[in-house]
Amino acid sequence: MPQFDFAHVLWPQLAWLAVFFAVLYFGVVRMTLPKLGKVMDAREQSISGDLATAKAAKATADEIDAQYHAEMGRSRDEARSAIAAAKAAAAKSTEASLAKAGAKADEALADAEARIAKAVSKAEGALADAAAESAQAIVAKLTGVEPKLDAAKSAVSARA
């Protein structure tokens, strides 16, 4: 194998390998890769920075959302309690006016009842008078003796 013919292949290859590798390492790789590394790091940083910004923005949005929900809940509760208060006030005023109207009606009723009672007693009185007069006339016609009006009245009221 020519590979083991070291008298011929050792030094020429080692020497040129050393030269070319030194050029490669110092002249090519060290000249170029750091630039690339810088850009790659910058990209990584800008990506992670963007991600952090996005995360922060999301957190803010979440906070605003939570605030909005809390605010909505609070105003809803407020509205609900206002409605309840209004309902209660309306019920109260209705009750009051109902009670007032009821009292007025009761008064009118009592008034009317009193008037009716008065009329009834008046009518009863007139009826008793008429009955006594009728009884007087009947007795006079039957017996020919006209009884006194007072006696007839008491007799009628005794019978009634």
Binding site: M1, Q3, Q13, L17, F20, F21, T32, G37, K38, V39
Partner: protein, 249 residues
């Protein structure tokens, strides 16, 4: 039948000598140079104007760099990032040599099919590991080989084994890559020879060459896979060895 080992022969293009050592520019040097040029074009174009939103070239270079960085993050931890350029250089150099060597027709030479080259690369890793380990932990670096809570005899025994296995690392690293590349290229060459030999069967030309040709196409795909996987394995093992030196257990 052509010798399947011929593809590995190093041919001098321009003879050179420095301080009595033969350092001729050979076809091996030439293909390492091609690899270097290809990598340079890839990297310089890809990082000419780095942008936050990458273009195609930049995305391609970033993909490879990110691959190496992730590998170091996983296997070494945050301190591994400092060695990303080194591991990246090793990875991309091995990858480029492996892949360029697979190009047919042009007389490609695969430097990584030479144990000298792979051993040189492995020594870069090994020396780095030793220097980093001793620089960070000093004499305490030897604790890497000492089992925790062991008595002195068992400890000494395990220490010897661990130390020897540590010393063999550059060899296993070098031989794994070299053997994979050599075996693959020999196989390709053998089946290539079959195509010619069977295809030139006089009574019925070409027909019998089709089967080994199909095999060779499939093998080429496999070799591309192996070229990538072996570059990855080399870089992965290098980062695992670095991890030993940086984070002593």
């Amino acid at each position: 039948m052509a010798n399947p080992m011929e593809q590995f022969s190093v041919q001098t293009i321009k003879p050179l000598e420095v301080a009595g050592y033969d350092v001729s520019f050979t076809n091996s040097s030439l293909w390492m140079l091609f690899a270097l040029v290809a990598i340079s074009i890839f990297l310089f174009v890809g990082t000419a104007k780095p942008q936050l939103v990458p273009g195609r070239w930049q995305a391609a270079t970033e993909y490879l760099y990110d691959f190496v960085r992730k590998m170091l993050d996983e296997n070494v931890g945050p301190e591994g990032r400092r060695f990303a350029p080194l591991i990246f250089s090793i990875f991309i150099f091995v990858l480029a040599c492996n892949l360029l060597g697979l190009i047919p027709w042009v007389g490609a030479f695969t430097p990584t099919s030479h144990v000298t080259v792979t051993f040189g690369l492995a020594m870069i890793v090994f020396v780095t590991v030793c220097v980093v380990g001793i620089w960070r932990h000093g004499f305490h670096f030897l604790a890497l080989f000492w089992p925790k809570d062991a008595n002195i005899f068992l400890g000494a025994f395990v220490f010897t084994i661990e130390f020897l296995s540590f010393l063999t690392r550059p060899f296993t690293l070098a031989i794994r890559l070299f053997a994979n590349m050599t075996a693959g290229h020999v196989l390709l060459k053998v089946f290539g020879t079959f195509v010619v030999t069977l295809g030139s069967f006089g009574a019925l030309p070409y027909v019998f060459g089709i089967l080994p040709l199909g095999v060779n196409i499939a093998l080429t795909a496999l070799e591309v896979l192996i070229a990538v996987v072996q570059a990855y394995v080399f870089a992965l093992l290098a980062s695992l060895y670095l991890n030993d030196a940086i984070n002593l257990h």
